[in-house]
Point group: C2
Chain length 155, copies 2
Amino acid sequence: MPTTLLDELRQRTPFASLAEEAHLNLSRTEAVLQEGIERVLKPHGVSATQYNVLRILRGAGGKGLCRHEIRDRLLTRMPDVTRLLDRMEEAGLVTRERDAADRRLVTTRLTARGRKLVDALDGPVAEEHERQLGHLDDKQLRTLVRLLTLVRHPE
Amino acid sequence: MPTTLLDELRQRTPFASLAEEAHLNLSRTEAVLQEGIERVLKPHGVSATQYNVLRILRGAGGKGLCRHEIRDRLLTRMPDVTRLLDRMEEAGLVTRERDAADRRLVTTRLTARGRKLVDALDGPVAEEHERQLGHLDDKQLRTLVRLLTLVRHPE
DNA sequence: TGACAATAAGTGTTACAACACATATATTCC
DNA sequence: GGAATATATGTGTTGTAACACTTATTGTCA
């Protein structure tokens, strides 16, 4: 088993604080899960960010969304949505059309191909989630969700 | 409050599964914490990955570590440690020296400046951790750590 | 011992992310 | 109604990450 930064720090002090230990565990766990999802997505030629955009656009339906709505809905800060959408448009996954009423806005919508792709990925992604987290029971998962939500939203 | 991918999915189905909900909460929370840490590091000119390397090398002490040992200890997969260390060497944070016994190996060590920097960052990073996670009590943090560890290491 | 495999590091290239800045359109408010 | 401000998107540039491939050195074993 490889020695990670977690072990490295544990032997040092052991940890500067519980908060630091929690953050490092969070980083490490997220990296492991993220790598699994990207391994699933890669054969389909989309990154995790692109996949998230596909899901966001599917949720928006036929009316589509403009750039800053997509940006705000993304899990991670992404300052260059324009060129992300450029690449997805080039791949035939989305279309963009300037709004007639407010010409500042550009509405992005899923193409049939984009819709088909995101639908096709539902199964494999769900399987990967199950593989990664299925060994925790519902009570543990709910506790995890509750604590993570609490981190982001101090009461 | 902005609508995030979390809300987007919640309204869709609400979630494909508890496992998916957990992973998305994990991604979102990690992104928030990571952004906070990078905001602290940025004025000092190091990225989060570089900071982790500094900590790893400090833990290794004077004997240093070779490239693949550093790579294995990193929290996230990082296929291009060579050029990461190139940049850190150029910044005067580390030195590299080819091992006399096994000339395939290149040993990397902290410079005095690198050591000073990582030491100086301990305080601000700990403060940021406290700011981000201080509203959880020890019991909650320990539960979080336990669950995250369980995700990575199925019993 | 000499061919072959294994290990460690480095390189070339492409794609992506980050940041600062620029452009176009709409809104406000005097 | 026109200047000033706000909003929305696009662009130029730089640095970093990802991937495939190459080189150098060591270990193995017929």
